[in-house]
Symmetry: C2
Subunit: 513 residues, 2 copies
C-alpha cells in the first residue's frame, strides 16, 4: 500500500515529515478491553443457567468415549454407568476453584507472552478451515503453501497475539502433518503457538519439538503454557476420544486447553440463547473439571462458540443477533466463574463481500461487549469456517487494528483540549492545519490504515477503481514478499529438522480418533 499513499497529492504546504517531533508508535500486543461489559440476562437468570448446567451434569450426564477419562472422572467422585459420567456439583466447584484465573502463555520472546485473564483482549485469525481462498488463485483445498503463507500473514500483524490452526494443509500426510505445522509455526513466528489434540503421540511430538526449539526444560514447561489447543465437545453432551485425550495430555503437561463447545442453536443445541448457552456451559464445565482432576491448577480457558442455524435451510449463520446475545450470555457465565474465556466472530458468507464484513464485525462486537479474553476467527473466516480468505484477513485486520487503537484511550489534558495551542489561534471560518497543536501532532494523531483508501472519487477512479478486496491482495502479497520472520537459531533448527527426520523414518504419528 505504500505506493498508494505516496502517490497522494499533498494538499497543503505543511511542514515536512521531518519537522514532526514524534513518530507514531502503536502497541497492539497487550490489550485491555476498553468496552463496558454488557448483560443480556439478569444475574438471577445467569445463576439459574449455571444451576441448570450443574443439574444437567448431575442428572443427565456426559457421554465420555475415552476409558482413561472415565476412570479419572470416577476417581474424582463421578458416578459412572457405562460411558455415561455423572458429575457432581462439588466436583465442578472444586475445579472452578483450582483453575487459574490468570494465565501467561509464553511466546518465543518475552514481548510475545500473552496474558489471558478477564479483561485482557487477544485476537486470533480464522482457524480450522479445510479450504483457502484468494483473488489470485481462487478457492482450493488447504495446502502446506497456504499454511505457510497464512502463518506469515498472521505473524505480520501484532494484533494477532496467538497463532491459530489457520488452514488444514491437506497435501501433507496426516501422520506427518503435525511436524509440518509445528515447524512452520516455530520458524515463521515467535507468537504463542497452537497444537492440535489428535492423540497422545502427536501431542508428545509437538511438546518435544517446542521444548527443544525454544529451549524449555520439563519443569519450566510444566509451570507455564508454551502452547495451547482447542477442545470442542461433541454437543450435546459428548466428549470424544481425541478431545478427552487432549484435555488429559495438555493438563498433565501444564499446557493450555481452551474448552469450547461449538453449538448451533436449533441443531446441536436448544433453539434459545438461554438454552444453548446453558448446554454449552455444562459441557465446558465438564471439560474444565477433567483438566483439574488430572492436575489441579492446570491452565484452562472457558470457551463458547454459539450461533444459530437458518431454520429454513438448516445452514449455519454467524454475526446474527442470536450469536451476539449468546456471546453476551457466555461472558456473564465466564465472569460468574472468574475464568479467562474465548468466544468467536466469523461469517457465513461465501466470498469476502459486504455480508462477510458486516457479519464478522457484528460477531466481533458481540465478543467485545461480552468481555471475551480471546476472540478467535476474528479475521479471514468465510463459509462458516469452511474457508479462510487471504483478503479477508487483511480487511478484518484493519478493523482489529482500529479496535486496538481504542484500547489505548485518548488524552484530554489542557494541551489536548488546546484552548491556547489550537482554538484561540484560529479565526472564525479559518483552519487548524498550522496551529501549534497540529504542528506538534500531525504525524502521530491518527491511525493509518493499511487497506482503507481515503482518495476522492476522481483520484480513485483514475487509479483503476480498485475495491478494498483488490487492494487487500496487494497487501498480503507485500507481506509475503517482506517475509519478516523472527531470527532463527540454526542449531535449534537443525535439532528440529533431525527430530522430524527421525520421527518420519519411524512412521510418524497418525491422528487418533
Amino acid at each position: 500500500m505504500a505506493e498508494t499513499k505516496a502517490n497522494r497529492p499533498r494538499r497543503r504546504g505543511r511542514a515536512d515529515a521531518k519537522a514532526a517531533p514524534f513518530e507514531r508508535k502503536t502497541n497492539y500486543r497487550n490489550l485491555k478491553n476498553p468496552f463496558p461489559p454488557m448483560k443480556v440476562f439478569s444475574d438471577d437468570q445467569i445463576e439459574n443457567m449455571h444451576e441448570t448446567a450443574l443439574r444437567t451434569l448431575e442428572e443427565l450426564g456426559m457421554r465420555v468415549l475415552l476409558p482413561e477419562a472415565i476412570a479419572i472422572f470416577k476417581a474424582g467422585g463421578a458416578r459412572v454407568v457405562g460411558d455415561m459420567v455423572y458429575i457432581g456439583r462439588e466436583m465442578v466447584a472444586a475445579a472452578l476453584a483450582s483453575a487459574p484465573k490468570s494465565i501467561v502463555g509464553r511466546g518465543g520472546a518475552s514481548e510475545r507472552d500473552v496474558t489471558l485473564e478477564l479483561g485482557s483482549l487477544v485476537f486470533q485469525p480464522g482457524a480450522g478451515a479445510p479450504n483457502a481462498t484468494d483473488l489470485v488463485r481462487g478457492r482450493r483445498p488447504g495446502s502446506a503453501r497456504d499454511f505457510i503463507e497464512y502463518t506469515k500473514i498472521a505473524h505480520h500483524y501484532d494484533v494477532f497475539q496467538m497463532m491459530s490452526p489457520s488452514v488444514e494443509p491437506q497435501d501433507v500426510p496426516t501422520h506427518l502433518r503435525h511436524y509440518f505445522t509445528m515447524q512452520t509455526q516455530l520458524e515463521l513466528t515467535d507468537k504463542f503457538p497452537f497444537v492440535f489434540a489428535r492423540g497422545t503421540p502427536q501431542t508428545m511430538d509437538g511438546f518435544r519439538m517446542l521444548q527443544d526449539y525454544r529451549g524449555v526444560d520439563d519443569e519450566t514447561f510444566l509451570s507455564d503454557p508454551y502452547c495451547y489447543t482447542i477442545i470442542n465437545t461433541n454437543s450435546p453432551r459428548t466428549l470424544d476420544i481425541p478431545m478427552a485425550q487432549g484435555l488429559i495430555d495438555f493438563a498433565r503437561h501444564g499446557q493450555l486447553s481452551i474448552v469450547t463447545p461449538f453449538t448451533l442453536m436449533g441443531a446441536m443445541a436448544p433453539i434459545t440463547v438461554a438454552g444453548a448457552i446453558t448446554l454449552s456451559h455444562s459441557e465446558a464445565l465438564a471439560g474444565i473439571t477433567l483438566t483439574q482432576l488430572v492436575r489441579s491448577g492446570a491452565p484452562v480457558c472457558y470457551g463458547t462458540f454459539t450461533s444459530n442455524v437458518d431454520m429454513k435451510s438448516g445452514a449455519p449463520a454467524f454475526g446474527t443477533p442470536s450469536h451476539f446475545q449468546a456471546s453476551l450470555a457466555a461472558g456473564q457465565l465466564a465472569r460468574f466463574t472468574g475464568l479467562p474465556w474465548r468466544s468467536a466472530a466469523g461469517s457465513a458468507s461465501n466470498t469476502n463481500d459486504v455480508q462477510a464484513a458486516n457479519e464478522n464485525q457484528m460477531g466481533l462486537w458481540g465478543c467485545l461487549m461480552a468481555g471475551a479474553t480471546v476472540i478467535i476467527h476474528s479475521a479471514g473466516w468465510l463459509e462458516g469456517g469452511l474457508s479462510v480468505s487471504y483478503e479477508k484477513v487483511i480487511t478484518d485486520a484493519e478493523v482489529l487494528n482500529m479496535i486496538a487503537e481504542l484500547c489505548a484511550g485518548a488524552e484530554a489534558g489542557p494541551d489536548e483540549i488546546g484552548f491556547e495551542k489550537a482554538i484561540s489561534e484560529v479565526q472564525p471560518s479559518g483552519h487548524f492545519f498550522a496551529t501549534t497543536q497540529t504542528m506538534e501532532r500531525y504525524n502521530t494523531a491518527f491511525y493509518e490504515p493499511h487497506v482503507h483508501d481515503y482518495a476522492n472519487f476522481g483520484t480513485w477512479t483514475e487509479r483503476g477503481s480498485e475495491d478494498a478486496n483488490t487492494r487487500a491482495t496487494k497487501v498480503w502479497q507485500g507481506i509475503l514478499a517482506a517475509d519478516s520472520r523472527p531470527a532463527v537459531d540454526e542449531t535449534r533448527l537443525g535439532t528440529l529438522q533431525d527430530f522430524i527426520a527421525k520421527r518420519t523414518e519411524e512412521g510418524g504419528a497418525p491422528p487418533e480418533s
Copy 2:
C-alpha cells in the same frame, strides 16, 4: 429475495410452517439503546471541556452573519462587536435549563411518532449527498427520480424512524425544489419529515404544506415538532445566514433543530479528539442558546459529527478510531447537558465494498456506545457523503435491523433455559431439531435477513456466485416495485398540489445564503 429463500432445500422433514404457533413479529419503531454507554474521558475532563467551551464563547466568541440573530443574542445579554457575538455562560446555562429533555417528533400516524431523549435510539439513512449510485445505473448527479426512490426505500424499513434529505434532486430548479421534496415525503411516507433551512420563504412554504397535508392547526404545530432540520455551523465559530435563520424560524414555530457542527479534526477543528469536541460543543451550545432565546422550551437536539482527516492527503476519513472516540466524548457532553443528541456513522469509501461496510459499522458502534439518540448517515453513505448508494442502504439496513433485534433483549425463564423441553429430551450426540422447545419456536426464533445469504458454497456457486451487493440490487428493486406508500387523502393531496401550483406561478422561493 423471496425466490432465493424459497429455492433453498429444506434439509429436514420438520413440521410445516402452519404447525408453528407464532408468526415472527418485530417492532423496530421505538427502540431503546441496550448498550452500556462508554466513556473515553473522565468526568473531570468532560467538565474541563465544557468549561473551555464556555470560555471559548465568552472570550473568543462566535461570528454570526445574520443581523436578526445578532440582535436576538444581544437582547439576550450577549456582548456584540460587529458580527462577533460573545455569549456568557449564564445565557448558556439558561438555555440548557429551558431546552426540553424529551421531544416527540410527530409522524403522519401516531405509530410513526418518534421520541427523542437520552436512551432512545433512532436511525436515519445517509443524507445530503449530491450524487446517487447503484449497480444498474452507475453514479450520477442526484435527481428527482433518485429522491423519490430513496424515499420509498427509507419508508420501507421501519428501522429508519426519521426521514433524511437523502440526495439532492439537482434536476429540480432550486426555487421549486423544496416543494418537490416536501410533496415527495408527504406522499410516500408517514415518517417524521425533514425540511431544509434554506431561508425563511422556503421554510414557511414547507411548514404550510406540512400543516395542510397533515391537518395540523397553528397551535398544535407550535406544541410539538412535525418536522426537523439539521443546522450545521461553519466551523470554526461561524453561524451563517441560512443556518441562523433556520434556528430562528424553527424555534419560533416549535419545530425541531438538530444543531450539528460538522468538524474534521486537523482541518476545521483541532487535531485532537478533546480539542475538536470542545470546539464542536461550544458551537452547538451557541446554536442551542439562540433557539432558547427565540422561544424558551423550543425543541432542539445537541449534535456532533466529528471525524478526522487523513493527514497525508487532507481527505476526510470516517469510521476511524478518532471518529469513534469523538462520538464517545460527544455522548459524555450530551449526558452532561441532558439533551437528546445526534451523532453520525458514515464511510469514505468510493464504492459499497468491504471498506464501506467496515467503516460504517465502526462509526455505528461508536454512536451506539456513545448513547446517541439519533444516528444519521447510518446507511447508504459513501465518499464521505458525496454519494448515497442504493445497495449500501440495503446492506447497512441489515446491520441496523440486527441491532434493533438486540434492543428487544432475550428471555431466560425456565422455558427458555429448557431443561425439560429441550436439554433432557436429547440424547448425547443427538439433535434438537424436534424438541418441544424447537417445535414451539422454530418459526420465530431467529432474525431473518433480507440480503445476507446462508447458502453453502456449492449452492451459492450454482446460483451464480452473487455477492451481497448484487443481491442488494434485487432487494431495492423489489421495494420500489412493491411501492408500499401510506394511504393518500385525495382532498389533501389536491390542496397540496394547488398550493404548489400557486406558489410555482408566484415564482417559488429561491434558497437564501
